[in-house]
Symmetry: C5
Subunit: 353 residues, 5 copies
Amino acid sequence: MARKLVAKRSRKAGKAPGTLMHIGQPRDDLAAIRVIEYDAEGLDDRRIHDAGQYHEPNGGRVAWLNVDGVHQADVIEALGKGFKLHPLVMEDILNTDQRPKVEDYDGYLYLVLRMLRFDEQEQQIHSEQLSLILGQHFVLSLQEHPGDVFDGVRERLRNGRRIRFMQADYLGYALLDAVVDHYFVVLEQLSEHIERLEDELIDNPTPTTLGRIHHFKREMLLLRKSIWPLREVLSRLSRDESPLISAETRLFLRDVYDHTIHVLDTIDTLRELLVGMLDLYLSSTSNRMNQVMKVLTIIATLFMPLTFLAGVYGMNFEHMPELAWPWAYPAVLVLMLMIAIGLLIAFRRRHWL
Amino acid sequence: MARKLVAKRSRKAGKAPGTLMHIGQPRDDLAAIRVIEYDAEGLDDRRIHDAGQYHEPNGGRVAWLNVDGVHQADVIEALGKGFKLHPLVMEDILNTDQRPKVEDYDGYLYLVLRMLRFDEQEQQIHSEQLSLILGQHFVLSLQEHPGDVFDGVRERLRNGRRIRFMQADYLGYALLDAVVDHYFVVLEQLSEHIERLEDELIDNPTPTTLGRIHHFKREMLLLRKSIWPLREVLSRLSRDESPLISAETRLFLRDVYDHTIHVLDTIDTLRELLVGMLDLYLSSTSNRMNQVMKVLTIIATLFMPLTFLAGVYGMNFEHMPELAWPWAYPAVLVLMLMIAIGLLIAFRRRHWL
Amino acid sequence: MARKLVAKRSRKAGKAPGTLMHIGQPRDDLAAIRVIEYDAEGLDDRRIHDAGQYHEPNGGRVAWLNVDGVHQADVIEALGKGFKLHPLVMEDILNTDQRPKVEDYDGYLYLVLRMLRFDEQEQQIHSEQLSLILGQHFVLSLQEHPGDVFDGVRERLRNGRRIRFMQADYLGYALLDAVVDHYFVVLEQLSEHIERLEDELIDNPTPTTLGRIHHFKREMLLLRKSIWPLREVLSRLSRDESPLISAETRLFLRDVYDHTIHVLDTIDTLRELLVGMLDLYLSSTSNRMNQVMKVLTIIATLFMPLTFLAGVYGMNFEHMPELAWPWAYPAVLVLMLMIAIGLLIAFRRRHWL
Amino acid sequence: MARKLVAKRSRKAGKAPGTLMHIGQPRDDLAAIRVIEYDAEGLDDRRIHDAGQYHEPNGGRVAWLNVDGVHQADVIEALGKGFKLHPLVMEDILNTDQRPKVEDYDGYLYLVLRMLRFDEQEQQIHSEQLSLILGQHFVLSLQEHPGDVFDGVRERLRNGRRIRFMQADYLGYALLDAVVDHYFVVLEQLSEHIERLEDELIDNPTPTTLGRIHHFKREMLLLRKSIWPLREVLSRLSRDESPLISAETRLFLRDVYDHTIHVLDTIDTLRELLVGMLDLYLSSTSNRMNQVMKVLTIIATLFMPLTFLAGVYGMNFEHMPELAWPWAYPAVLVLMLMIAIGLLIAFRRRHWL
Amino acid sequence: MARKLVAKRSRKAGKAPGTLMHIGQPRDDLAAIRVIEYDAEGLDDRRIHDAGQYHEPNGGRVAWLNVDGVHQADVIEALGKGFKLHPLVMEDILNTDQRPKVEDYDGYLYLVLRMLRFDEQEQQIHSEQLSLILGQHFVLSLQEHPGDVFDGVRERLRNGRRIRFMQADYLGYALLDAVVDHYFVVLEQLSEHIERLEDELIDNPTPTTLGRIHHFKREMLLLRKSIWPLREVLSRLSRDESPLISAETRLFLRDVYDHTIHVLDTIDTLRELLVGMLDLYLSSTSNRMNQVMKVLTIIATLFMPLTFLAGVYGMNFEHMPELAWPWAYPAVLVLMLMIAIGLLIAFRRRHWL
């Protein structure tokens, strides 16, 4: 089943704000919650099942709760109560077609991002909503489907690297960075397909080439729509004076911001390239049509006069003196040859041959 | 009758500002006024007929007057006098082709919005002007036609939910939210038609496909024109420090603002998709023309030389020695076959077959 | 004679600034000056011929001088001296191809607008420069040709309506409002023609359809150019704190500003519609070409093989055994029929029939 | 030789900033310096040859040095030393492909402008760099070639008009005004050619029409590039509080600014017109192709079946009973006629005739 | 091997920020470090191999370290430790597909630029990352490949010119200036190719012309992407009040900023020119197709009726009285000639000949 351009939100229209109702692809299994608590000394990694029973760590430890699956409204509600989240935040977590944004609530920041993955099989981008809630000592990350881009972050946490000595804001940055870094991977995969398509276009364009240009143009459209608002989100994060983010982390966020701009630049370049490829396709179609027409015109121009001449001497009039002349037949053949040669010279003069 | 792109305003040109004259589709029936007054304790729902006799509730109750039908200038005038509205506000309520806007008057805010509905029958969007007047303890909503998107709000009011404990500004927000939420419904319907059209375009494009792409491009144009100014309206509402709107409601308005941006993003994506579909249509028309031309050229190139040859031996010269040779006829047939085979090989080399 | 895109300014190049020289269509008759002086008590309406002899009214009356014809530099100069206008203002009044603008001089505001009229005969817009000078107690309006859009304002002045109780700034607003209101009339006329053209395009497009699309695109171009700068003019007027404009009038000016934005929105929508119509035209031309090519190809593919076959049996070889067989003729006819039927089936398979 | 799009700057790459080296078209003759010194009392006009020996006038006179020819680096250097110009200013004077700009140095303003001229012969715009240096009591103007647009200014200086009573800033304004006024002349010439081209396009388009549309599009491109930055230059001049420019002159500069905006508006209108003309050209080409194809198809459809029929009765079978029937020949002729008439009716039904 | 549009960053995704890993084309040889230390008195030029052993000069000398090769992460790390660079800076130096940017760190500025070179052989632009680190008394420049655009700067340093008397900020400016000056060289080369292509397009367009237009459009796309962000970098450098840059150097930086704007303007002009060339190509293809179609139609229209006529008199009916008339044959020939002349006249009337 193809992706929908517009999510099924209609069920929610008319409901009160803060109504908790999942909007997105339904899932059958239970949401999984993984808690990683750490400080410079050590790390504690466990899975919990009831979001309500979780208690914040004491003594300056940082807690990262990763929720895999936002299709169960009651799980989100329990979590939201535990962390005192605003009803609008809980609603946005459940509505999985949000635009990337950052919102400043009392005691925490709420971020929405799109986590992207390029499916080589279907050659299309899968987009998943990632909600990040950044508090003083905790980070909540909520994703729609199993599998994410955070394995590198977990690895660094386990290995006791720099990140273990930092606060929650740095963890939040690390997650953002992992998401944006993966955009480069998606772009790499896309650009490889597009460059292969460009070669195909120049070597041997076929009607399917056209369909594929359209397909990738559409993918770039969705890609841009998913990433564009992030630019403003990161610009605000690295500029605003939120007490939740330290000056040093702000420096790192500026770096993620630069990467996002870079990603957007590359998307625009690829889009313009695809537009150029479409122009090229149309022009080369037009060129080939010209070639075909020339062949047709040459053939018709060559044989129509000759066939006419043969037709004249095929007429059955009784009084056609030429018919009786002994050298008439070879003479007509020579005349035909001269007409053909004359026409071929004319074609060459017009650069048709 | 098709919608008009430009409303009939000419009757009003030259009139004094504040002249009360209805501009829009005429209606025969009377305007209906429905008053809902409520506080945390209870709710009072009634219909009144004479806007002039209405009195504001006392004791902190919130009053919502919904006027269905703005085609009677005298009704609007009576209402305007009761609520001390500026003549320009009354004029704008009657001129039903206003752009969305917000205006800050002494004691109340005046908002204009477009309430949209997608007619599946005619496959086109119906747009209706909604005027909202937000005072300290009252909200006036004025719509053109019966039927609106506020049933969910009424339901919540009756059921004594959160909204009953809030002030008039929250009610205003709830109405705005209901209107914007319905934009998602319209977009969903439109995008389903557009995606079906895209499938049709790839599988079996016909000339009507083209007309329908044009039709939906035009709908998107009108949709965008109706919603675009709302972006600024909501941005101002959620930023400005109007005393009529509490800080908490401002938070909710920011949410509606985000939804509006999301709607506009989606409109732009759909528009670019439609442009891409038009390009695809043109290209595939061009492709099919190429196919047709190739068939024509192959046929002509194959049979014209052969017909010429047959014509030569159909000439009636007396001295054509070949005619008498016993093996001449089969030889000519073999020659014709060889020419045909040679040409077919040449076609295959050019990838025409 | 067609309108010029660029006015003949070259005569003025190299002249000193403030050189009074009329640029525009020449006229033969004399400029007519009409003076309306009024206050709440009464109104005095007269025509004067010598601008120099005019004296400002005393006692708080408001004076409106309407000058019809700016082709006589000496009239403008006399007027300018009487009202102490800056030389640049007088120059701009005479150069009738100014862009709309507002300039703040000592003691008065100088506004330039375009007064538009749609000529149904020639189906094109006529644009005329209107200069407004707004002082404390007077308004000067200078137009190029007889006939304007101010009859409604004069009517309201005569009838002693609200406007009679207001100051000169309100009169200025009323004139601005009349001009902008008339833009809606022009747009209405244009949009009716464009919608009729759209119907024609879908029902029965002809080459003249194309010329008319181009014509209206050009009109929209000129319309936009004439109105676009007014947006900034009105924005400044309704924001700036000029002592010549009262807070209340500013409110009314905001309304005119909204109308201007609305006009510009509609112009953009119509322009995009015209672009879409051009695309549609091109696509349908392409479609019809495809139809024509298919007919040609079907005919050629059908008859060329058959004619060839007939040609073969028209050859005059002595040794063609088939010619003598009694059933050869009907057999060939049947063969021909079968070839024809086979080809028709092939065409239907390709959806060409 | 055609103009170059990009000037030969490569010789200078890698040189120190402030290196004085002429970049532009070489000239053989000597640079000519003309000095006009004036005050309200009188005027002194002379030519000097050695820029170094020039001394500033005393007693409040204003001096205008016009240098015709910037190809001699030593002349510019001597002048620069005399007036204490920054090395970067001298460098910019010599590099004649600068963008228009204004720079604020200690004691003087440095302006770069493009002086344009439309060559009716070659139908292209010639662009020349004009450097203006505006000091307290002097103006330096440096142009590349003999001949400028300042004759009107010189005339007014000689005749003792208003300009003689003003300071150097007013002279600077007068020169700017003369340059911008001449842009209108260039636009007038261009627009006349473009309108003539438009008539040609509608009446009788030829392939050269296309080349000329492209040519004028290119000219508009260069024109816009030359004038666009001036907008910002003049905006800054009329807003900034430089002590070198009096409040009154600032008023006049605002006027030049308005003219520049007007010029740019007109350029954009002409460009859009040219784009529309290209579309029209393409569409009419497509239309004519359609006409040609219809003629071909009608002819082929008419004669191919008839020729086939004639071919059938030209076959030489011995047993063709029809051949012997006395009325067969006229019957076949009538049949042919009926086929032809039937086809013509079918063509008319399809609106092909 | 063709350039990649998107660099291979995927290896780095998921790594910690500040991970030092080279991203770019691999090299085998060692990085070379060249140190130039100078003051007004003298200059010291040497090559070092171990970045770690370098010590800053004392006594107010300026040091310029040019590193040729950033493919060895350990070299960059050693250098970074010596100059106390932030880990993010070291990471950005190694990731050679950065966007141009400037970042303000404690004690130094970090700049990224693209150093461009046009390869005349492959007719494409080679882009290389240049990192500049500007401290109080030192400048680090790090480039990817041997060979740069700084020979002019080295020359001026050796010759004891002005630059020797200035501080490190002026050296930084001189390097920036050299890079931007070389953009003009690249543009000159590109524009020469493009103008040659334009001549070819008008004189004798071939299908390869189309491919080359596409190629140069793509090059302009990459060029613009490489230079566009520099505009903001230089604008910030010349405006911001960084203590590392003196007021005088700021003046020079403003000059580089102007050059960058000029480069970008020219890129845009060339891009629009290329778009215009593509339109021209398509139109001329369309024109030539029209010509071909006309020839075909003329030939077919001329010979089809004549061949039909010949076919009629080639029929073998026994009762065709015309066949026996003595003057029938010449009469038919004359009839044929008259038909041909009539058709030729009709063609001329339609301007087809």
